[in-house]
């Protein structure tokens, strides 16, 4: 079809669509399986508090543009990284020689503040990616006792699988901002059994 159909039929269809939309409860399209904090911790090889220090975009051999982000480790919560180390996290998208690739929902790593970052190895070379795309980066606002962890997952459409196998709507790992102290306490509790195994 060269052009879209217009006129009375389209108006009728839109009216019908409007009525159905008005009558229907709101649930929408999904792209990413939701991970709660326990799943984020379980699926991470490295959990760190870090700040981005620089990034470089390049073509991967499969012709996708990816961006390597250098993360300075400010605190290490799980994995082999130590305070002061620099980890390199790779995310899909970026810009090379005037060609940009946007991947909605992908993680971004803040450079103007720190974040709790959940990373996993995706291949034998040790390449690291954020777990659950943008869900795997929880920005921290403020310092000291007032430091607050913000919900991640912005830009990602989240679902989770219920016990019966059905897909159901799901919240982010953090529903509301929480104090850094509280979130760190939860992560440490979740990490401990993992390490004990």
């Amino acid at each position: 079809m060269l052009t879209t159909r217009r006129g009375p039929i389209a108006c009728l269809a839109l009216l019908l669509a409007g009525i159905l939309l008005w009558a229907a409860p709101a649930v929408r399209a999904a792209t990413v399986l939701a991970l709660d904090l326990a799943a984020l911790v379980r699926q991470s090889d490295e959990i760190v508090i870090a700040r981005a220090e620089g990034e470089r975009s390049h073509y991967r051999p499969d012709r996708l543009i990816v961006t390597d982000v250098k993360l300075r480790v400010l605190d290490a919560l799980k994995g082999k990284a130590h305070v002061g180390d620099v980890l390199v996290a790779t995310r899909l998208g970026g810009s090379v020689d005037g060609i940009g690739l946007a991947v909605p929902g992908e993680a971004s790593f803040p450079s103007d503040r720190s974040a709790i970052v959940f990373l996993r190895h995706v291949d034998a070379t040790g390449e690291l990616q954020a777990v659950g795309m943008s869900q795997g980066v929880l920005p921290i606002e403020g310092d000291g006792a007032t430091a607050t962890v913000m919900p991640g997952g912005a830009g990602a459409a989240l679902v989770q699988r219920a016990d019966d196998g059905k897909l159901v709507s799901a919240p982010d790992a953090l529903l509301h901002p929480q104090t850094l102290r509280s979130v760190l306490g939860q992560i440490q509790k979740l990490v401990a059994p993992t390490h004990a195994r």
Partner: protein, 305 residues
């Protein structure tokens, strides 16, 4: 007194009804949203400037349910949800059509110097490709990072997280409703990011396996209209639907470094450069005939009605 109160209520109702809602839609831009934010606050918004846009389906390799024909119709329906939007009484300034030829390229890519296809593809080796394990669908929007012009878009659907299906009234257990995902991803394909409006198709959270919510909200329509408001109505000849540098059903043979070298014009590939392919022209011709056939069928149906 009662009459006055009734008038006041009526006036308030009219005011509420006529007050436009605050827009929550989000446009993709040349910049990424900062961590914790759904919307990029800077960068140049992404937009198709070609206006006559084709998309191509790559056949699934391992499953015949749904059939290829059903999948192609479904993809059309999902895109039509967006292209049927009217903006201030005018049709959306985009014309979308599926190419007659299937895409045989099983990966997303953009070739700056050779043919392309805006592909909808089904991926079975998702993790081997190092794609985010939790993603049901990923749309990759290639653009000019200076102007924001979208030059190619590819939609990948993950076969490994559940059974991709065309659900009827409701999805069965462990089924992923394709139309909901593709309609949402088509919004990205056209340059929209995630909305903060909970009723929007582009809302960045949640899908229950239902089929009744495949429509756009006012916020989605406002977003797509705002994205293409500056453009006049397109007049599309069949050849105008060809993607950037012409249609190519197959993947490029250039390596990424070669493409980089070409894109910065600092290296002549000479013999390595891919020669124009005769079957590319054949594909264009086939596509043209198919589009004319569909257009005639549409006219015939219209005339008889």
């Amino acid at each position: 007194m009662r009459a006055n109160r009734a008038l006041a209520v009526l006036a308030l109702s009219v005011t509420c009804a006529s007050t436009p809602r605050a827009s929550a839609y989000c446009r993709l831009t040349t910049s990424m949203p900062v961590a914790g934010s759904a919307c990029a606050s800077d960068g140049t918004p992404l937009v198709w400037k070609r206006q006559c846009i084709s998309y191509s389906v790559a056949p699934r390799s391992h499953s015949t349910t749904p059939t290829l024909g059903e999948l192609r119709d479904l993809v059309d329906r999902s895109f039509r949800t967006w292209s049927d939007v009217t903006c201030s009484g005018q049709p959306l300034a985009l014309s979308l059509a599926q190419s007659a030829e299937l895409s045989m390229c099983d990966k997303p890519e953009y070739n700056a110097t050779a043919g392309n296809a805006n592909t909808v593809l089904f991926v079975t080796d998702w993790q081997a490709r190092k794609l985010p394990a939790e993603a049901f669908g990923l749309t990759m929007v290639w653009h000019d990072s200076r102007t924001g012009e979208i030059v190619d878009a590819d939609m990948q659907l993950n076969e490994t997280l559940g059974t991709l299906a065309i659900c009827k009234q409701r999805c069965a257990q462990a089924e992923v409703d394709l139309q909901n995902i593709i309609t949402h991803e088509a919004g990205h394909f056209l340059g929209l990011g995630h909305s903060q409006e909970r009723t929007a198709c582009m809302f960045g959270q949640a899908l229950v396996g239902e089929t009744s919510k495949r429509f756009l909200s006012l916020d989605d329509e406002t977003g797509i209209c705002a994205t293409y408001a500056q453009l006049s109505q397109p007049k599309c000849a069949v050849s105008d639907y060809a993607p950037e540098n012409g249609f190519s059903a197959t993947c490029a043979t250039l390596t990424a470094p070669q493409q980089q070298a070409q894109s910065c014009s600092c290296h002549t590939l000479g013999a390595e450069r891919r020669a124009p392919r005769a079957h590319g022209w054949l594909a264009m011709l086939t596509g043209a005939l198919w589009l004319v056939h569909r257009w005639l069928r549409h006219r015939r149906a219209h005339d008889s009605s």
